[in-house]
């Protein structure tokens, strides 16, 4: 059950050993590059690089296939909407009423879709190779206040629990002949009310117990908090940091100076 919410894939690969802050830097840099570009080849190159990293980190093929399954519908929708809403220049392949399909808007739609896919893979590469506790620890180490990190960790921890509780409550109410399948949308939404209220009561009880447990474990003891989970920034992390910063900087310079990646199909306009 929790596997659905915990994307971490344990391994001893170079990607797993990389400092989580460096991986976060990569995600941010990749986002900057992808958002600064409108070029299909830049998107494909980023996707290929992330796939190579995932493959070398021994991330299971079914996990990669799962990301494709999750993102492909959104990618297809974005490509279709782009083509429909942005009439391209140049000769039209198809022209029906306001719809005008051209090489330009198809290429741009494809670039936008690939941008979403590449961004998703960059984020999932980070989540697949970083366990939740280290992830939260890295965010706190980067300056996120500890209470926020604790809230994030608890949200990750309780997602599967709350989902399970929702299912049990739903079962309990249906066992009392509550029908969730009949009627129009409003009637169905109303039928969920007993489940939502019971869920709310249970969540409040859990929250009350949780606050007592946190207090009993000395949260807010008034001393400087220490951390069991230590992050180690090694020389290889420094090399990757420099490489990521330099590569991103070079791309941005090329983008501004020569317009590299500005056009949908041609790398250099």
């Amino acid at each position: 059950m929790s596997a659905v919410y915990d994307l971490y894939q344990p391994s001893e690969s170079w990607l797993h050993r990389l400092d989580p802050r460096v991986k976060l830097l990569f995600v941010l840099s990749a986002s900057v590059v992808l958002l600064a570009s409108r070029n299909v080849w830049v998107m494909l190159a980023t996707l290929a690089a992330v796939h190579a990293a995932l493959w070398s980190a021994r991330i299971a093929g079914r996990r990669i296939a799962w990301v494709w399954r999750v993102t492909l519908p959104t990618m297809a929708l974005i490509a279709a909407l782009w083509v429909a809403l942005y009439p391209g220049r140049g000769p039209a392949w198809v022209e029906v009423w306001v719809l005008r399909v051209t090489t330009e808007n198809v290429a741009e739609g494809l670039a936008m879709a690939l941008r979403i896919g590449a961004l998703a893979f960059a984020v999932f590469a980070w989540l697949f190779s970083t366990d939740q506790a280290t992830l939260v620890r890295s965010l706190v180490a980067l300056g996120m206040p500890h209470p926020w990190g604790l809230i994030l960790a608890m949200a990750l921890r309780y997602l599967p629990t709350m989902a399970g509780t929702f299912r049990v409550i739903s079962d309990a109410q249906q066992a009392r002949a509550l029908d969730l399948t009949r009627g129009n949308l409003v009637a169905r939404a109303k039928a969920y009310l007993p489940i939502v209220v019971a869920m709310l009561i249970t969540a409040l009880r859990t929250a009350e117990n949780l606050s007592r447990a946190l207090e009993s474990r000395a949260l807010g003891a008034g001393v400087r908090r220490t951390y069991f989970r230590q992050l180690h920034y090694r020389w290889v992390d420094a090399v990757w940091t420099v490489a990521i910063v330099v590569a991103t900087g070079l791309f941005l310079w090329a983008r501004i100076a020569w317009g590299v990646g500005a056009a949908p199909l041609r790398l250099v306009p």
Binding site: S2, Q132, V168, A175, R176, L193, R217, R225, T226, Y227
Partner: protein, 634 residues
């Protein structure tokens, strides 16, 4: 200096709603706990045990608010004036609900959380984490997510997380109440280790008298917000007047001692299984009761006729047949048991096949995901008016099985028929007319603004007229003594009352088949007896009752058939006595018969029949054994 000193403690919670009255819980309570002592705290549900325990680490009143007077001193610190976080260094508390006290993403982060908050050096935290996980035998699971652990493992991690803060006093608030027998044993093994090897000061609230007798140095019994008596377990459990006043049960072996003393004029005095076996074993051996060469399971003592003292609960139960196990083959109880039905006790057996069985299951398989099979080829027939207990560890498939009975789950393969209706093609709503399902946690179904609205919810969903809904609601409220609470919000009632509301809500739908999932978990003996009396009455009125339970004594004393589930399979199914005699199957499922049965087995070499289940049966069998050996009547 004592570890804990409480003097004339009074405490009232703030009003539950605006304009309401304060809820007084503790009423002049005084208690002292010495260093290295294991004190068990017992008392009826809602008497204030958890409140008292939370007063030890300052949660009461610092977090809860309310009005407090009197003095609570823990290792010299006043719990009212010392911040909770500061008291946490001295008092570690483990709550009943494991789920809401494990909030980290991995086990080791959970254990490290307390020391981190106390500013302990990271290297020392690593040492403490390793040590605490080693103490609770969870070192192999340090990288796992708490949500992936079993109930027993979660509680062990919660104990480790508390131990890592190196508290001098460990407080356990019913740590085993929500666990299966295996989980209970795991947690108690840790408690035993802490007691015997580390001489830790432990204060543990518990409803389980057998656990308490086994481990505690002293028992403090709470009645009406005060300590009525604090003494050695044996003395407390022999104080029948006190137990009756507090609504508590003694360990079953204490009842055996009392029964033997009354019947035989002896002066037995024991509270644990070991002490009872030693006392009765020596006595039996000394009086020549031993049966040389008889090593096998003896099923019937001379002069012992099985159910010796028929009572309402055993009316209709087939007389003891003497067969050790029923025949192999499909999981259908023997014809004698199947014939047991409404009125059979007085009007004779129903001819087999005359009316359809309540539930028939054929080759049922169910998978939640591709990785594991929750149910694997179950074949089962549950007769009309059966009173069945389903037992087994968590994850054995009990709940998955019963969810097929009301259509919440549809068979992956195979079939389930309920009163002849195929559940695969029938909606949950339609099946709810026939099958009532009371979930383990009453909070999972309570949502109404009033108890009346809550109880009337099911009948309204059945499409009944307002007049009939009102009639059924009133009847259910009266049947469960809830009429006085009809206009109260159910969510703010005590646990025992909320449990009654959940039962009344299903009762009002008048289902012929009633499924109860762990109905007595976390309830005291009096509340349990009260609830089971109502369930027994429903059975006598002709309903089919299916009880999912971890309480073997409850199953033995109330149910006529038992189904043992293990790893998704029906390991054993038959009359209660026969199933509890199948020691190999019980051992495989990591279960054990009630204490009287275990004691009888320990005395097997002395000639005791091993199919004893209840206190009365044990006393009768033991008396008969003595009489047969000495050639006289007991």
């Amino acid at each position: 200096m004592s570890a804990v000193e409480i003097d004339n403690l009074r405490y009232a919670y703030p009003p539950l709603w605006a304009g309401g009255a304060s809820v007084e819980v503790l009423r002049g309570l005084s208690l002292t706990v010495e260093r290295g002592e294991f004190l068990a705290l017992m008392g009826p549900t809602g008497v204030g045990k958890s409140t008292l325990l939370m007063a030890l680490n300052g949660i009461v009143p610092q977090s809860t608010g309310g009005v407090i007077s009197g003095r609570v001193t823990v290792l010299g610190a006043d719990s009212r004036g010392t911040p909770v976080a500061e008291l946490a260094r001295r008092v570690g508390i483990v709550y009943q609900d494991a789920e809401s006290q494990l909030f980290s993403t991995t086990v080791e982060d959970e254990v490290a959380f307390g020391p981190e908050n106390l500013g302990v050096d990271p290297r020392e935290i690593a040492e403490r984490v390793a040590w605490a996980l080693d103490v609770v035998d969870m070192a192999a699971h340090r990288g796992r997510a708490p949500s992936q652990l079993s109930g027993g493992q979660k509680q062990r991690v919660a104990i480790a997380a508390t131990l890592a803060m190196l508290p001098e006093v460990l407080v356990l608030d019913e740590p085993t109440a929500a666990l299966d027998p295996l989980g209970q044993r795991e947690v108690l093994a840790v408690v035993e280790k802490l007691c015997s090897e580390r001489r830790a000061t432990i204060i543990m609230a518990s409803h389980d008298a057998e656990q308490v007798a086994e481990f505690a140095d002293r028992v403090a019994v709470m009645v009406e917000g005060r300590i009525a008596r604090a003494d050695e377990p044996l003395r407390v459990f022999e104080d029948a007047e006190l137990l009756a006043c507090a609504g508590l049960a003694a360990p079953q072996v204490c009842e055996v001692a009392l029964g033997l003393n009354r019947r035989l004029g002896t002066r037995y005095s024991f509270a644990t299984l070991d002490a009872a076996a030693e006392a009765l074993g020596e006595e039996a051996a000394g009086s020549g009761v031993r049966v040389p060469g008889r090593m096998g399971c003896r099923l019937q003592a001379p002069g012992y006729t099985g159910v010796l003292t028929p009572s309402p609960r055993t009316r209709g139960e087939p007389q003891y047949s003497g067969a050790r196990v029923r025949g192999e083959g499909s999981l259908t109880p023997s014809p004698r048991t199947r014939g047991e039905g409404r009125g059979e006790g007085s009007s004779g057996a129903r001819v087999r096949g005359e009316t359809p069985p309540s539930i028939r299951v054929e080759a049922l398989t169910h998978q939640y995901d591709e990785m594991s099979t929750a149910l694997n080829g179950i074949d089962l027939t549950i007769g009309d008016n059966a009173y069945l207990a389903i037992i087994g560890q968590n994850g054995s498939g009990k709940t998955t099985l019963v969810k097929h009975f009301n259509g919440l789950l549809k068979p992956g393969s195979g079939h389930v028929w309920v009163e002849g209706v195929d559940t695969r093609t029938t909606s949950v709503g339609r099946l709810a007319r026939r099958v009532g399902y009371v979930f383990q946690n009453p909070d999972h179904q309570i949502f109404g603004a009033t108890v009346r609205e809550e109880v009337g919810f099911g009948p309204r969903n059945l499409g009944l007229s307002p007049a009939e809904v009102r009639e059924r609601t009133d009847e259910a409220l009266a049947a469960f003594d809830l009429t006085a609470h009809a206009e109260a919000p159910p969510a703010v009632l005590g646990y025992g009352l909320r449990r009654k509301v959940s039962l009344a809500a299903v009762f009002a739908m008048r289902p012929h088949i009633l499924i109860l999932d762990e109905p007595t978990a976390g309830m005291d003996a009096r509340s349990t007896a009260d609830l089971m009396a109502r369930v027994d009455a429903m059975h006598r009125a002709g309903h089919t009752i299916i009880l999912v339970t971890h309480d073997m004594r409850l199953a033995a004393e109330h149910c006529h058939q038992v189904l043992v589930m293990h790893e998704g399979r029906a390991l054993a199914y038959g009359p209660t006595r026969e199933v509890f005699c199948r020691s190999d199957d019980l051992a495989l499922a990591q279960l054990a018969p009630p204490q009287a049965g275990q004691l009888a087995r320990r005395l097997e070499l002395q000639g005791m029949p091993c199919d004893v289940l209840t206190t009365d049966e044990f006393v009768a069998a033991y008396a008969a054994l003595g009489a047969a050996t000495q050639g006289g009547q007991p």
